[in-house]
Amino acid sequence: MAGYLCLISNGQSIFEVASPEAEKIRALTYGFLIAAAGVMLLIVLLTIYISVKFRAKATSVEPIQIKGNRKVEILMVGFPLVLVIGFFFWSIKTMREVLPPHGDGPPDIIITGHQWWWEAVYPGSKVVAANEIYLPTGKRLLIELNAADVIHDWWVPALGGKMDLIPGMVNHLWVTINKPGTYEGTCSEFCGQQHAWMRIRVVAQSPEDHEQWLQAHSQRTELPMGTLALEGKALFMKASCSNCHSVQGTIATGGEGPDLTHFASRKTMLAGMMDNNPENVYKWLTDPQKVKPGSHMPRFIFAKDSIAALTAYLTQLK
């Protein structure tokens, strides 16, 4: 049992919480587990006791034929009814605390689910993030959730419950993050071929750090680039990359794929599928359909040095 609980705390379980919303749900979960364990124990013990005690023996005659007992029947209904009523009120109370009405206030962040990546827009700034989403701690955030194609579902266990993103509907979720850190999550509504690789990574920062991050990311500091990278940049703008991806300060303004303005500052790529390093970028550009089959990025036939140039460019987009 202890081993079991040990396994359960692995960094993205519902028991390792980092927000008051998730805490409230966890308290309810513990309450439920205790009650369930009690009921389970009762049934198991009764089953074993009755099975052993009333096992037929060679000498058994036909037992007394009892057909029912009103008192036992009332008890049978009454006992679960009381338990259930208790949990009903507790869960209503928790629901109200975790997900109060959102009113008309503007959201703090707008998240859109795409097959198979996440887009995060910060209203009031020009910042657009993808897959790795930066949020400030200590503030109750209102998240707006939309879907670009099919139904997806936002779920970061440490931060509290799930919420679906549904085309044609706007959903909301409240989240407060207790302390800075990285929180793992995943899309949890089946959304097609690459549903498995639609992971979420929330990076929580103190409000000051977050403010700085927003500042830094609302423009792009043009770094001095080597010739290879510049060649890659030219290629990026000329080839159809720019139709689907945007890079701030350039002519690339596509919205089909993730924004790549700060691509190189992400730790992972392709929604958590792999580490973000030059080899993987090279592999991806060589044949996206081989790396992540079904993905909506087509394969382009480039010469090897063109791929190297594109890789050099992308890995400089800090």
Binding site: Y4, L7, I8, N10, G11, I14, F15, K24, L28, F32, M40, I43, V44, T47, I50, F54, R55, A56, P63, I64, Q65, I66, K67, G68, E73, M76, V77, P80, V84, F87, S91, I92, T94, V98, L99, P101, Q115, D149, V150, I151, D153, G160, G161, M163, D164, P167, N171, H172, E184, T186, S188, E189, F190, G192, Q193, Q194, H195, A196, W197, G294
Partner: protein
Amino acid sequence: MKAIRLPESEKPIPGLSVSTNQGLLQWISSVDHKQIGIMYLWLSVLFLVMGGCEILLVRLQLVVPNNDFLDPEVFNQLFTMHGTTMIFFVAMPAIFGFNTYLVPLMIGANDMAYPRLNAFSFWLTFFGGLMLYFSFLAGGAPDAGWFNYAPLNQYNYSSSPGIDYYCSSLLIAGIGTVSASANFIVTILKYRVGTMSLKHMPLFVWMVLINSFLILAAFPALNAALAMLLLDRQLHAHFFTAIGGGSAILWQHLFWLFGHPEVYIVILPIFGIFSEIFPVYSRKPIFGYNFIIGSGMAIALLAFGVWIHHMFATGLGNTVNGFFAASSMLIGIPTGVKIFNWLATMYGGAIRFKVAMMFAVAFLVEFTIGGLSGISFAIIPIDWQLTDTYYVVAHLHYVFIGGTLFGLLSGLFYWFPKISGRIPDERLSKWFFWLFVISFNLTFLVQHALGAMGMARRVYTYPDFAGWGTLNLISTTGGFLMGISIGLLVYILVKAIRKGVQAPADPWDASTLEWTTSSPPELKNFDQVIPVNSTRPFRDFKRPDDAD
């Protein structure tokens, strides 16, 4: 005594010179309820093997993190086909097999009310299943899950014909299901032997009756949704796409309006089976006969008021969610108290642990696990964490396997001597029992933890997070052991049919009418039916001094 109708066995097929009384031709042309029942059962075994192989491939892919044994495309087809097969072509035909075989025998009738409709229902199910599997050859099986959510089920997101096959085959099988239910209702209400009043009907027959009404009300929602989806896909009707003015959520409402009653459709007859088995092997009458009927009716009614609990994360708001949380918890009560009914039936009895009874007792524990985890989804905030994770996979298998399949197996070992006239090898059957129960728990118990540890369901692979690999390995091992145990079961059945010991008419000292005929029954079930003045007519007949 009321005249009993004869089955129409000897009639030759028009235009054929062969009599219908020969071999395969006799089976495919049969309108005898016993033969049709047996065909339903074999159909279910066949699809159990198919659905089982599909999920073993799935489990093989998940055996280690970051595995690349299967393409995601194939993986998605396999888990979709697994779910669809298990619900529509394993559980339903197995239940209908028992119903069709047993209902006339248990009510002292010689056949169903409409024997030809009965055959028609079977063949629709058969061809529905065939059609679903044909999709593999026709360009790809359905790949959007058995729940098939919009808009993923639309042509732009799934352009292979798989989902069109899904719609057509389920529509065809669904028509069979609805017509069979109408047949059961008429049979039960009109063709009971003269003196059997409703309050003397075996509980199994009661549950079939209640269930048939449930089917008549639930399947139209599915059939309508399937027809609408076909229109969407073939004629761009936009019922389920937001862009065309439709709604993706509408699919979920329609689907679960059918889908939630469906999970009770595959468990209510099982409650009936257990209500026959516990008393016989405990040598006592059922505890709370009226109570079981009442709670069965309550379940059937409440089943239509709980579908939103599959949609707590769709953002419908706390008021709507709260209402459906209340009804979901309520339906847990009539479901749960039956456990106490059966325990009370065993209490004070003289319990004989035959294989059927062993499955029944194991069911009490497994089904409680499934029921309790089910309640955790009715507690909405917990649902917000755990829905669509492996915790749900664990829950639903404890209900479907620990409940439905354990009930079917229990019923199989109970009625097999009646159906085949043979007794299966008891020692081997007990081996099968233990292997199956242990491997089942090995497979699914750990999945509760996987879900709580953050693993979403329906993923073709997963990153190497602490603990995930180990638990998945355990689960896959259990899955393959379950596969082996099903192989053993088929062996036991075939061996028993080939050279099992001849079964007497009443091997378990039972109390319902089917045990008064020979094993297996003649083509005409009864020449004469013993008087029915209580729920246990055969016992009254055997012990006239101590009749109920």
